[in-house]
């Protein structure tokens, strides 16, 4: 459940930054950002200080959602390993 919410938050933040990428860099780089969201993420961090874009909060929330996802994945993996060892 938490993982799904985290994924949805990450997607919403990604789309918000992607819209800014489209507006600033044009359609081609925008499509590149859609195909490879990692590019959108990097672009977002590289332009975080650009006040005209106003992506600072989106990037912080997106990063928090990613970190949350990693933590939840590790917990799920650990629980799965423990469950597998139980007789």
């Amino acid at each position: 459940m938490l993982g799904t919410i985290g994924s949805l938050i990450a997607l919403v933040c990604g789309i918000a930054v992607l819209i800014k990428l489209f507006q600033r860099e044009g359609a081609l780089k925008g499509i590149l950002g859609l195909i490879c969201m990692l590019y959108t993420y990097i672009w977002g961090w590289m332009h975080i200080k650009d006040e005209s874009l106003q992506i600072k909060n989106w990037m912080y929330v997106w990063t928090a959602a990613i970190v949350l996802g990693i933590i939840l994945n590790v917990i799920a993996q650990t629980q799965a390993n423990i469950a597998a060892q139980l007789p």
């Binding site: 994924s7 997607l11 990692l38 993420y41 996802g69």
Partner: protein, 144 residues
């Protein structure tokens, strides 16, 4: 308007901005390396949230298979991996070449983009390929 977008330089502008190119290549390289050693890398937010793979989903696994010499599996996983690897190679070349050669390479890519719309064609083909896979004409492998 469409012509202007279609023939606009995208990849060559990425090569021109050295810092951006370095960060993009670095992140791509780390992601690829993590996959090569069997660790999870970047998770596609579109697929994670909706379950629907994005046009680029499977590209990393495919690239890893290609680098390991398993070309048939690579093409089956994602047919665009060789193009992705070629783009990575060009980025490395642009980063390490001396200034003059680098300028020649960027100009060459720029010409390809502004005269023939190479990047647009590749992205267009990728989106069509994605559509074909989504409607089930070519299957998405379960291995990614």
């Amino acid at each position: 308007m469409i012509n202007e977008i279609w023939y606009s330089p995208a990849f060559s502008s990425l090569l021109t901005e050295r810092r951006e190119g370095l960060v993009v290549f670095g992140a791509g390289g780390i992601h690829l390396a993590l996959n090569l050693i069997g660790l999870p890398g970047w998770v596609c937010p579109i697929r994670a949230a909706t379950g629907v793979p994005c046009p680029g989903c499977g590209m990393t696994v495919s690239a890893v298979q290609f680098l390991r010499g398993d070309f048939a599996a690579s093409i089956e996983t994602h047919a665009f991996a060789p193009i992705f690897l070629l783009a990575m190679f060009v980025m490395v070349a642009a980063l390490i070449l001396p200034s003059n050669s680098r300028q020649q390479l960027v100009s060459f890519i720029h010409r390809l983009e502004t005269r023939f719309g190479v990047t647009s064609w590749v992205l267009f083909a990728l989106v069509v390929y994605w559509g074909v896979r989504l409607i089930g004409l070519v299957s998405f492998p379960n291995s990614f």
